[in-house]
């Protein structure tokens, strides 16, 4: 009874429902509850309906079929609850999730998808109620209780090397790629249970793992699989004694190690350090030690045709200058080097899945694209151009790169409204390997026509923004991923006086000190110390 009371106190917090206020009512209610457990579950689910209708149905649909008004533009689509099939579980492949599994996903959301966390908005009671309600969409599946599989603890020590070997043995690369960027041979053919295209996870960006990125989370996904997706359970590999349970943990540790320790946080200013010489190609070793800056990109959902399902989720930006030229290396993950016939099937699936976009997608794959955009007039600090390709009043200056590969230089007066400049100063060098583009742009700091193309000046920051598109997913000049404004700051060369002045000062003060000491000694000698001095000389 005490436990029950506590549950009341907890769950009533923040609830907007009518609350029983008198002890008498409460007592009676408890008796009723004890007598009619099944009925009360149903009532609870009805509470969940109010929460669901308000917060969830927009995407998941009134009947839970994953067909809310927001669903058609999203990839992955919202979960269809009527099947009772869930990705993130602590139960075996093909089994229903536990209530705790459902609660967990609602609380923390699904990283890398449109599903947000709800813990900060809904009370524990509301989440509990909505869990019960969601289950009613597939009541048949939830007739029996879920069976959690026992998950032990991670073995001690790091087994990243062994994990890598087992990753190879189990051929995880077939889908996830040799470097883990989701570019395996089978990646273009992957579809979920509903026929929608689905990506093999990019294992180098674990902050987007749907079920969380701890070693424990990753191990659980390997054990249970992600139902309704191509990701199988690897339980069988243990049962058939192909690998041990410990080795499965080692894979989890290895996969975990493929991403940065922490999800990168964007910084406003990209620093272009001063270098004596600039790298010539994007794979030059010189780039490896240059600080890199993460610029997140999101779907371009302002100008039509809008795009809610971008492939590229961010670019790594590095910059250097040598006083004459600026070099920037932009790196981003894209599992396809577009166009590639292996991805024709993929494009077809994307077109079929995203039926509600602004007009049909291209039927042929275009190239991959990257646009590096600068404020045309960086001195106009009162107002930066519109971040989405500028406008007629304030244009942007752009490097427009495609994977043919080539780069154009020009201005834009709005997204895709491009005018080429007569003097092309920028050069590009591109490299595609293991699901990643690396493109180096190099341009002189001076400008052939500074009214069109801005000068890059050491000691100054210039606004910069990025646009990326994946041709194999039907992305083009407008459909793609965009960033807001950032800035590139070119380091000032260290002036000679910085090195000379301290030495001069040291020499000066030392010299002055010496002078003072010498003078003081002489004064002393001229006074009382004359005899002593001669005495010393005699010795």
């Amino acid at each position: 009874m005490r436990n029950t009371s506590r549950a009341f106190t907890q769950t009533a917090d923040g609830s907007s429902f009518v609350q029983a206020s008198t002890r008498g009512v409460l007592g009676t209610a408890m008796v009723v509850a004890l007598l009619s457990l099944t009925v009360s579950v149903t009532l609870h689910a009805q509470d969940g309906k109010a929460v669901y209708d308000k917060w969830c149905s927009g995407c998941h649909g009134d009947t839970g079929a994953g067909d809310g008004f927001g669903s058609k533009t999203m990839l992955p689509h919202p979960r269809d609850f009527t099947k009772g099939v869930y990705k993130i579980r602590t139960t075996a492949s093909g089994e229903i999730p536990t209530d705790a599994d459902l609660r967990h996903v609602i609380e923390v959301g699904m990283p890398g998808t449109a599903m947000p966390e709800w813990k900060s908005r809904l009370s524990d009671g509301e989440i509990g109620a909505v869990v019960q309600y969601v289950k009613t969409f597939s009541a048949n599946s939830f007739k029996q209780p879920a069976k959690t599989i026992a998950i032990g603890k991670a073995p001690s020590g790091s087994g990243v090397d062994e994990g890598k070997a087992v990753f190879q043995k189990l051929e995880c690369f077939k889908c996830h790629g040799a470097a883990g960027r989701g570019d395996g041979k089978s990646a273009p053919t992957l579809k979920d249970d509903y026929g929608n295209p689905i990506r093999a996870a990019d294992l180098t960006e674990n902050w987007k793992f749907r079920g969380g990125n701890s070693v424990n989370d990753i191990y659980s996904r390997l054990r249970t699989g992600l139902d309704a997706t191509p990701m199988p359970s690897f339980q069988e590999a243990i049962e058939n004694k192909l690998i041990t349970d410990e080795q499965l943990w080692r894979i989890a540790q290895y996969v975990h190690s493929l991403s940065p320790e922490k999800a990168p946080t964007p910084r406003e200013v990209v620093r272009a350090a001063r270098a004596t010489a600039l790298p010539a190609t994007p794979d030059a070793a010189g780039w490896n030690t240059v600080e890199r800056f993460w610029v997140p990109l999101v779907g371009q959902i302002i100008a039509k045709p809008r795009w809610f399902a971008p492939t590229v989720d961010g670019v790594w930006v590095q910059a250097l200058h040598d006083g004459r030229s600026l070099a920037m290396r932009i790196s981003w993950d894209d599992p396809s080097k577009s166009p590639d016939p292996a991805w024709d099937e993929w494009l077809g699936r994307v077109s079929k899945s995203l039926t509600d976009v602004d007009g049909p997608l291209a039927t042929q794959q275009g190239p991959d694209r990257l646009v590096v955009q600068f404020a045309q007039n960086p001195n106009d600090e009162s107002q930066r151009p519109y971040f989405l390709g500028g406008d007629a009043k304030r244009k942007v200056y752009v490097w427009r790169w495609t994977s043919e590969p080539r780069v154009e230089e020009g201005t834009e007066a709005g997204l895709g409204k491009f005018t080429a400049l007569p003097n092309v100063q920028v050069t590009q060098a591109a490299r595609y390997a293991d699901g990643q583009w690396q493109v180096q742009f190099t341009r002189s700091l001076a400008s052939a026509d500074s009214t069109q193309a801005p000068r890059f000046t050491a000691g100054h920051a210039i606004p910069v923004a990025f646009f990326a598109a994946d041709g194999s997913s039907g992305e083009d000049e407008i459909r793609g991923a965009v960033s807001t404004w950032y800035a590139v700051y070119l380091d000032v060369p260290t002036p000679t006086r910085v090195f000379v002045a301290p030495i001069a000062m040291i020499a000066l003060s030392a010299g002055l000190g010496m002078l003072l000491v010498t003078r003081a000694q002489r004064r002393e000698q001229n006074g009382a110390g004359g005899t002593d001095s001669s005495h010393l000389e005699e010795r």
Binding site: N3, F8, L37, S40, V41, L43, N240
Partner: protein, 265 residues
């Protein structure tokens, strides 16, 4: 009101937690019932009524079957090496105007309330040369399906049923085997491999042993039927389904031929 409901759920969850699980579709244990002399080619067991009537026939095919798509196995040399000629996806198995891989089964007509139990022997499906063998087959409700891997490559076996619950398991090496079963009747349950997107198989899950798959010569035979009038359905992955009504007396053999035709271009 609200408090009442929430409290009740907490209590309910507690009671639930204590309850014993009685899970259904998953690996493992064999079936309690043993086949009782059913001579059905599918190896069905039976506690329900059987007999000695037979429905057999031939699946004819008219027109020219579309060419089976070529499979590019270049990414999978282990599988490609098992073929002397370039492999194709055998969607249409046609020879001399006869169609193979047609699943033929009794859709209705068995005595009301007849209950059959699955045999303890499993049906087998093998992955070899990056194709499923057999491609089309039947299994009884709750009959074990033994899934084997003959290829030394990673396969995942994903069942995508509509009535039953699916599964998605991996077999990364040759010699592995897994057992699964389906607790509900369902024609057909598709199997697929996502590593090799061309791999497809279908299993017809039935509550009785009266089914057969047409061979390369197009013939099928459903034996040990009790006398009666049956709706027989023939299913093909591309050519669709057809039905026929057949009445057989005790000890009789009746013919039910079906004719599928090439899709219109």
């Amino acid at each position: 009101m609200r408090r009442t409901m929430l409290g009740a759920v907490v209590l309910a969850a507690g009671v639930w937690g204590c309850g014993k699980s009685s899970g259904s579709a998953s690996a493992g244990a064999g079936n309690s019932a043993v086949a009782q002399g059913s001579g059905s080619p599918a190896g069905g067991g039976a506690a329900g009524p059987t007999g000695n009537a037979t429905v057999s026939g031939v699946i004819h095919f008219t027109g020219t079957a579309p060419a089976n798509p070529k499979i590019d196995m270049s990414q999978e040399s282990v599988c490609a090496g098992k073929y002397t000629t370039p492999p194709t996806d055998p969607q249409y198995v046609v020879a001399d105007g006869k169609l193979g891989n047609v699943f033929v089964y009794v859709k209705s007509g068995l005595p009301a309330g007849a209950k059959y139990t699955a045999p303890s022997t499993p049906v087998e499906i093998d992955q070899s040369g990056c194709l499923y063998h057999p491609r089309v087959f039947g299994a009884m409700v709750d009959q074990n399906i033994l899934i084997k891997n003959d290829d030394n490559v990673l396969h995942n076996i994903k069942a995508v049923p509509k009535v039953n619950r699916g599964f998605n398991i991996s077999q990364p090496q040759a010699g592995m085997s897994s057992t699964r079963k389906f607790p509900e009747s369902e024609v057909m349950v598709p199997f697929e491999c996502n590593v090799h997107g061309w791999m497809h198989a279908w299993v017809g899950v039935l509550p009785h042993p009266f089914y057969s798959t047409s061979g390369a010569d197009g013939s099928f035979s459903i034996k040990n039927l009790p006398a009666g009038t049956y709706t027989i359905e023939a299913w093909h992955e591309k050519a669709g389904v057809q039905q026929a009504t057949v009445t057989v007396g005790a000890g009789e053999t009746k013919t039910a031929d079906f004719t599928f035709s090439a899709p219109k271009a």
